[in-house]
């Protein structure tokens, strides 16, 4: 019974596919998986948007939207109808072909990341041997679309916002990849299903998730910082903050194209949180060994929504970082620490089982964090203000 509830969607998909002739069954299975992903994540997007507005409202000591349904539950429906019926304004001098393509590319590359994510036991759409590499390849394509959006609008603020966004995304991509690399090193495979399977064992009641190891905890923190910057979320949302640069690279988009950008940003947040849970939080495995009777997909989506809540919490709490503070943070703090994390993960592997490796690895990481942090905080020398003019 527990087994069938766990494999509910897999069995449902097999039953639906059995109506097709034998030649089309594989294509039918893939089609069902794609349709489920394309329908499920926008529904989660609607829930997340509502959670964000209510959550931010409560953190800012006000109610969120509460007019549209009981407690504002139907607000996403109202938002959807509004964005569909708004006039689509394209600036006269804008490059209309690229302007049209940019939101499409953002949404498509954001959705592609879900193809390799294991959302439950046996519930992955494509089980690639190099799954993690595919995921990061799709993330890299998103940056080009952001640039296309900013440049084609023929607007100084859009261009500036797009260049800042691309610089930020490229800078934080390196720590993102390096912190994921520690996980790949310890697991020995790039395949996401194998990474989850390696975390699915228990000692006593405690799971073997990578976040419960010193290098995993440091790696998870750096991964969380890098994902917040990659998806342009607060406190790294200088490229799109309203008080800074109007709306950055999506200033000149109205109506449904803006909704597509919004959707693309949230879907990217979901997929990168999903990757974070797969790499560090054990994917679909239960937190305690006596809870494995709860289906695996419930655990995956719970961890995903918990990550989204943490994103919303960060947005409501922390002030925005300035562009140079952001870049300094990436290159001078997170990147050296993520390189050190690789070394610590290697030490963890080769020190053998026992309490020594816990103490040694934690000590190395803590000392490095304190030393690099103090170094960074000390090197701000403020002299008289200097001006640079454009020649």
């Amino acid at each position: 019974m527990v087994e069938r509830l766990d494999q509910l969607f897999v069995l449902l998909s097999h039953w639906l596919v059995s109506f097709l002739p034998a030649g089309l069954q594989q294509a039918g299975g893939i089609l069902i998986g794609v349709v489920v992903i394309v329908c499920l994540y926008p529904a989660l997007f609607a829930i997340a948007v509502l959670m964000e507005r209510k959550g931010l409202g409560r953190m800012q000591n006000r109610y969120g939207p509460n007019r549209v349904g009981p407690y504002g539950i139907l607000q996403p429906v109202a938002d959807g109808i509004k964005s569909l019926t708004k006039e689509d304004i394209v600036p006269l001098s804008a490059d209309s072909a690229v302007h049209f393509l940019a939101p499409l590319v953002v949404v498509v590359t954001s959705f592609m990341g879900f193809a390799v994510m294991p959302m439950g036991r046996n519930m992955v759409l494509v089980d690639l041997d190099a799954g993690l590499l595919f995921y990061f390849a799709m993330g890299a394509s998103t940056e080009l679309a952001v640039f296309m959006a900013g440049w084609s609008s023929r607007n100084k603020y859009s261009l500036l916002g797009a260049m800042r966004a691309v610089a930020q995304m490229i800078s934080y991509e390196v720590p993102l990849l390096l912190s994921s690399l520690a996980v790949v090193m310890i697991t020995g495979s790039l395949s996401l299903t194998k990474i989850v399977a390696a975390q699915n064992s228990y000692t006593g009641i405690f799971p073997h998730w990578y976040i419960f190891t010193p290098w995993g905890f440091a790696g998870f923190l750096m991964y969380a910082i890098s994902t917040t910057a990659e998806t342009n979320r607060s406190p790294f949302d200088l490229p799109e903050g309203e008080s800074e640069i109007v709306a950055g690279y999506h200033t000149e988009y109205s109506g449904f194209k803006f909704a597509l950008f919004f959707l693309g940003e949230y879907v990217a947040m979901f997929s990168i949180s999903g990757l974070g849970t797969t790499l560090f939080l054990g994917g679909w495995s239960a937190p305690f060994s006596f809870l494995t009777w709860i289906p695996s997909w419930i655990w995956f989506f719970s961890k995903l929504m918990l990550s989204i809540c943490v994103f919303i919490w960060l947005r409501g709490t922390l002030p925005r970082l300035r562009q140079d503070q952001l870049m300094n943070f990436a290159w001078k703090f997170v990147l050296p620490l993520s390189l050190l994390n690789l070394l610590v993960a290697a030490m963890w592997r080769f020190l053998g089982d026992g309490w020594e490796r816990w103490v040694f690895c934690s000590a190395v990481l803590l000392v490095a964090y304190v030393v690099v942090g103090l170094q960074e905080m000390r090197s701000d020398h403020f002299g008289p203000r200097s001006y640079r003019y454009v020649e």
Binding site: D95, A97, V98, L128, D129, A130, L133, F134, F136, A137, M138, G139, A140, S141, E143, L144, F147, M148, W151, L159, M163, V166, I170, E173, G188, S189, L190, S386, R388, Y389, E391
Partner: protein, 167 residues
């Protein structure tokens, strides 16, 4: 050669032709990114998963952005006021591209005799690539890393020098 290979080849060649023929420089840069993506899909069609994904990650994710920034930060991004989609020097571009293709094709075809004949498609996993990189090809790997470090330091020095000059 299946239908998919022809379609992917058409996309790649179309992207390359557009990169040579179009007037607006940023359009050319985006067309060359399309050609890179087409090449990546061709790699995937030939079952070289690692090469395909790394092609997207490196070329579309980094080299294309580099090209686009280089175009933006120089003057050539100004939009041409007179109409027309194709650049006025399209014939020269095509001739140069065809000449480079001929030279590279001649070099590749002349060196085919030195390769051994494979009878079956080898199934290459990422682990095998990693072991070859760390084992037999570790010296080229380190030389490439040194080259990248030198390029990064050079870029930092060029940018820093500009800042001191301006003040």
């Amino acid at each position: 050669m299946s239908v998919i290979s022809y379609i992917l080849a058409a996309i790649t060649v179309g992207g390359g032709l557009a990169a040579v023929l179009l007037k607006n420089m940023v359009h050319c840069a985006l067309a060359v990114s399309l050609a890179f993506a087409g090449l990546a899909l061709l790699f995937l069609d030939l079952d070289a998963q690692f090469a395909g994904f790394v092609q997207i990650l490196v070329y579309v994710g980094a080299v294309a952005i580099l090209v686009v920034f280089a175009i933006l930060l120089t003057r050539s991004s100004e939009t041409p006021k007179d109409g027309g989609v194709f650049s006025p020097t399209w014939l020269a571009g095509l001739v140069v591209a065809a000449a480079v293709f001929a030279v590279i094709g001649w070099a590749v075809l002349n060196s085919v005799g030195g390769l051994s004949y494979e009878t079956a498609v080898p199934a290459v996993t990422v682990q095998q690539i990693g072991q070859e990189l760390m084992g037999r090809y570790v010296l080229p790997l380190e030389i490439v890393a040194l080259l990248l470090t030198v390029a990064t330091i050079g870029a930092v020095i060029v940018a820093m020098h500009e800042k001191e000059d301006a003040k």
